[in-house]
C-alpha cells in the first residue's frame, strides 16, 4: 500500500488538488523558461532592471551547456513535471513518485544556480529567480506529499 498523501479528491471529478496545483506552478515555470529560451535564440539582451542584472547572468558562461541554453533544459523539465503532475492529479500514483524525484533534482540544481548568481556571477536575473521560485514551490509540494 502506498502511504503517500497526494491530496483529497474534490468529491466530484476525482481530480487530486495538490498535483493539480503543482501542474499549474509547473506551467508558470514552463512559460518563464520558454521566454528565456526564445530570447536566447533571438540573441536578444534582456534589459537591465532595478531588481537584477539579467544581461550579466544570461550572457554568462553558465547560461549554456554544450551550446544549449539551460533555459531550454528548464523548459523540458517543467513540461515533464507538468505532465507527471497532471497524470498524478488524475490518480496515477507512480507519476507522482516520479514527479517528486524529478522536482528534488530540479531543486538541487536550482540551489546551484542561485549560488552561481550570488557568489560567482555577482548578479541576479529576475526571470531566473522566477524559475527558482517555481521549482522551490514544486519541491515544497513534493515534500508536503511525502507521507504520514
Amino acid at each position: 500500500m502506498n502511504d503517500d498523501i497526494i491530496a483529497e479528491d474534490d468529491g466530484h471529478s476525482g481530480i487530486k488538488k495538490l498535483p493539480l496545483a503543482a501542474a499549474v506552478v509547473a506551467l508558470i515555470g514552463l512559460v518563464d523558461a520558454v521566454y528565456l529560451t526564445v530570447k536566447h535564440f533571438r540573441n536578444e539582451v534582456v534589459p537591465c532592471s532595478l531588481l537584477e542584472g539579467c544581461e550579466k547572468v544570461l550572457t554568462s558562461a553558465y547560461a549554456e551547456i554544450g551550446g544549449v541554453p539551460i533555459a531550454a533544459f528548464g523548459a523540458f523539465a517543467y513540461f515533464l513535471a507538468f505532465s507527471l503532475a497532471v497524470l498524478a492529479a488524475y490518480g496515477n500514483r507512480l507519476t507522482w513518485t516520479l514527479f517528486r524525484i524529478q522536482v528534488t533534482l530540479m531543486a538541487a540544481y536550482t540551489l546551484w544556480l542561485l549560488y552561481l548568481q550570488a557568489f560567482v556571477i555577482g548578479a541576479f536575473c529576475q526571470f531566473c529567480l522566477i524559475s527558482a521560485a517555481t521549482t522551490l514551490i514544486l519541491f515544497i509540494f513534493a515534500l508536503f506529499a511525502r507521507g504520514k
Binding site: V34, V38, C48, S49, G53, F82, S83, V86
Partner: protein, 268 residues
C-alpha cells in the same frame, strides 16, 4: 462506468497534448514575431506616462545634449554604463545622433541612470567620469569609450586607471579630469538626472523616450528609431503649418478691416 473511466484517463493526456501544442506554437510565434510585447522594456513602454507635474528637470542641458534647444523632437535616453543592454543599444543611439546632426527639429539628451544593483558597482562613478569629461567638452567621446570598452573596464580592478587612459586618448587634460571626478559639481549633475528618472518611474535601462513616449527595447535599432523620429518631426511640422494657417486668416481679416476703415476715412 467503464466508458467513464476511459474518458477520465484520456483527459490528462489531452491536457498535456494541448499544453505541448500551445507551448510549441507560442514559442515559434514569439521567436518569429518582430514586435514582442513580453519584454520588460515593452511592458514599461505600455505603462501610462507619469504626469509631467513634479518631475524634476534633471541636470541642466548643455554637454548632455546634442541638437537645437528648441527642437520639436526630443529623444531622451536613460542609461547605465555597466548595463550590457545599454552598450548594445549605444551604436544605434550614436547613429541616430549622426543621422540628425544639424537638423533644427531634433535634439538628443542623455540622462544618467546608474541602477545601483549588484554587478553595477562602478556605474555611478562612470557617470561622474563622463560629466568630468563634459567639463572639457568630451562628454560624448568619453561615453563612447565607456560603452565600447564596457567589458574591459567593468571587470578590471584598475578601472579608474583605464578611464584616465581613455581620457588621455581623447585629448583631455587628465589631471583636471581626475580632479573633476572627485569634485561635487559632477556628482550633482548625475544625482539630478537620477532624481528625474526616479520621478518618471524608470525601472530599467536603457529607457529611450521620443517626445516622452517610451520606445520598447526591441525597437532600439536605427531603422525603427528613424521612423519614429521622422513621424514626430512630420507631426510637429504639420501642427506648426496648421497653426500658421489658422493665424493667417485672422491677420488677413485685421488688415482687411484696416483697409476698409482707411477707405471709409478717405471717403469722408
Amino acid at each position: 462506468m467503464a466508458k467513464e473511466t476511459k474518458s477520465k484517463s484520456g483527459t490528462p493526456i489531452a491536457l498535456i497534448a494541448i499544453v505541448l501544442l500551445v507551448v510549441l506554437i507560442g514559442g515559434i510565434w514569439f521567436y518569429g514575431s518582430s514586435s514582442t510585447t513580453n519584454t520588460p522594456a515593452a511592458n514599461q513602454a505600455n505603462q501610462t506616462k507619469p504626469s509631467a507635474v513634479n518631475i524634476p528637470p534633471g541636470a541642466s542641458l548643455g554637454v548632455n545634449m546634442i541638437g537645437a534647444p528648441d527642437a520639436a523632437v526630443t529623444v531622451e535616453e536613460f542609461a547605465d554604463y555597466q548595463c550590457g543592454a545599454c552598450a548594445s543599444a549605444h551604436p544605434a543611439m550614436k547613429e541616430l545622433q549622426g543621422a540628425y546632426a544639424g537638423n533644427k527639429n531634433f535634439r538628443f539628451i542623455f540622462r544618467h541612470y546608474p541602477l545601483g544593483i549588484s554587478g553595477h558597482d562602478k556605474s555611478y562613478e562612470a557617470s561622474v567620469a563622463t560629466e568630468a569629461a563634459g567639463l572639457q567638452g568630451k562628454f560624448w567621446q568619453m561615453q563612447d569609450k565607456l560603452f565600447t570598452n564596457q567589458q574591459a573596464w567593468t571587470s578590471n580592478q584598475n578601472y579608474r586607471q583605464m578611464w584616465v587612459e581613455y581620457a588621455g586618448s581623447v585629448g583631455m587634460d587628465v589631471e583636471k579630469f581626475k580632479t573633476d571626478i572627485a569634485g561635487i559639481q559632477t556628482k550633482e549633475r548625475v544625482d539630478q538626472d537620477m532624481q528625474r528618472g526616479r520621478a518618471m518611474a524608470i525601472s530599467s535601462t536603457p529607457t529611450v523616450l521620443i517626445n516622452g513616449n517610451p520606445v520598447p527595447f526591441n525597437q532600439l535599432n536605427i531603422t525603427t528609431l528613424r521612423q519614429l523620429v521622422d513621424a514626430e518631426i512630420q507631426k510637429a511640422t504639420a501642427a506648426k503649418a496648421a497653426s500658421d494657417t489658422a493665424a493667417q486668416p485672422a491677420s488677413n481679416a485685421n488688415s482687411n478691416s484696416a483697409t476698409n476703415s482707411n477707405t471709409a476715412s478717405n471717403a469722408k
